[in-house]
Symmetry: C2
Subunit: 323 residues, 2 copies
């Protein structure tokens, strides 16, 4: 199973999305031009546009608005990537930001703002008020989630519920709204919109759960970063929460002491192995499968058209991927 098998069914639409992405980031401002070119070249799987385009085939009308929504949601995704990079530790050299790093950070912040406003601009001629209401709501919920995540960095005691609430806003919300808005602007029936919205939510949860396991089990080459990067940066994911709850006292203290040091102690390979040993990865993948099944259940309630099958393949690919 390869993503290309899904993508070839929407090839022309995806090409239009790609063209519009370039156009919509066009600017004469040098620094913005550089960063947007960089972002576009970096590519990515364009998952959100694919969700929008496939969901947009359950209705009958306004192909152009479906494309516009696909572009807008990819732009918003890009903006979150740009803002996520602001003031991360990578930009600090031994805790000491150079003047350049400070400037780069400020530029990155405004570049993210710029991309968000471009996203808004491209959908500003869509008359359906619900599109704007749902999208702005999604953005402020995502912001709340980001701040929760910052507040919860390195916190040793966290509940599964807190974690799920975080990944919902961090990841699942944007995938959910991609499906919802694609269907909405194509004028799909309300029930179909609702099922697609839920499908996107469940797939998003399953995706992030798998992703958080891959951070421990993937190899550096395919991940593009060393294993355990999330934990190293203080992001306490479900495998870690599980380990904190299930490791024997002595071993738990090792993990606890890393977290309590707020990342000042190095994360040893011993501690990383402990997390693996605790069984949190298996627990997390099991939960991911449950969300995947919920997503597939929603699909069963949709008309059995080709797009239904493509969304099924997409969900299975996303959750079963090993990179």
């Amino acid at each position: 199973m390869r993503l290309a098998n899904i993508y070839r069914h929407i090839k022309k639409d995806l090409e239009r999305v790609e063209d519009l992405l370039s156009q919509s980031m066009a600017t004469n401002q040098l620094e913005l031009k550089q960063s947007s070119t960089h972002l576009l070249r970096a590519g990515g799987k364009r998952m959100r546009p694919v969700f929008v385009l496939l969901s947009g085939r359950f209705g009958t009308s306004n192909k152009q608005h479906v494309i516009d929504v696909a572009v807008a949601l990819e732009l918003i995704h890009m903006a979150t990537l740009v803002h996520d990079d602001v003031i991360d530790n990578a930009s600090l050299r031994r805790g000491q930001p150079t003047v350049k790093a400070q400037w780069d950070n400020r530029v990155a912040m405004y570049a993210g703002d710029y991309i968000i406003s471009r996203a808004l601009h491209i959908i500003s001629d869509i008359q359906i008020l619900k599109v704007h209401q749902e999208l702005s709501k999604a953005i402020f919920l995502m912001c709340e989630g980001e701040i929760d995540q910052i507040r919860d960095l390195y916190k040793p005691q966290q509940s599964v519920k807190q974690y799920l609430s975080r990944i919902k806003r961090k990841t699942a919300l944007l995938m959910s709204i991609s499906c919802q808005l694609g269907a909405l602007v194509s004028d799909a029936p309300p029930k179909v919109i609702q099922h697609l919205k839920l499908y996107g939510y469940y797939v998003g949860m399953a995706f992030q759960l798998t992703d958080d396991v891959l951070d421990f089990t993937g190899d550096e080459e395919t991940l593009g970063k060393p294993a355990g990067s999330d934990l190293r940066q203080g992001n306490v994911t479900l495998p870690v929460i599980y380990a904190m709850q299930h490791l024997p006292e002595v071993e738990r203290q090792l993990l606890d002491s890393f977290l309590s040091s707020q990342g000042k102690h190095p994360l040893t390979s011993e501690t990383l192995l402990l997390v693996q040993k605790a069984g949190g990865n298996e627990f997390t993948l099991e939960l991911s499968k449950r969300y995947l099944n919920k997503a597939l259940d929603e699909l069963k309630k949709l008309p059995s058209v080709q797009e239904q099958e493509l969304l099924k393949m997409l969900a299975e690919f996303i959750v079963g991927r090993n990179y």
Copy 2:
């Protein structure tokens, strides 16, 4: 002449704006709640809402949408203040950010994003597409302006044109769009909208020019910061550009050497006095007056209602203020 004389004519509307501002920033997220409470308590002159409300009286319809636009534009103004504070030198202690400062910066970034999305949400039920098109366009132009400003920090050779283009996007644009959108959602005639839009632009330019002089001439107590703060932070405003072009070679080099050091050399009171001596303040105030007159000329083309007179008083107050 006091602002209160203008404000009392729109007292009830301003109270509704204030209520809605609080409501629209309501959140259960602790850090966001703290920062939004802080912002609201800090007050401010609510100049953008006043522009919206007064402009919104030139049409006949939809009072609620005028209020909503007033709230949205004040929120966007607040978001720019929050983002302006991110990674400024104040948050660095001897160039060394504490973990807390890093977190605070990230929280401030997302708090700004949150406030922007709240602004969008509050106007998301306005059917007039032009409102959304113009607003998103204004935001991306403002972002371009912010990045230009960062790029131009400490640059000794700058043209008046570059400076005017920066303050246009930094300040005048949001004031201009406040007047434009207030009139637009109240269904004012197209010509009236156009005059108000230009009025806002000219007032905004005059305001920023005055502001840039006050940074040199104001005293620390009323400014809330030491004189010369802009220059100290590398913001090369018109009085400095003028000084660079008109000071005798030997004195110019003093100023040049401060700028070339990128703020590493301290800004001496001698250098500050040089800028004053060069006559740039007078030149800048003269230009400010010219913009003020252009603003008043636009007002003359409006129906002679009470609001026309209030906008005139407001412009004269803003430009003539000494704090």
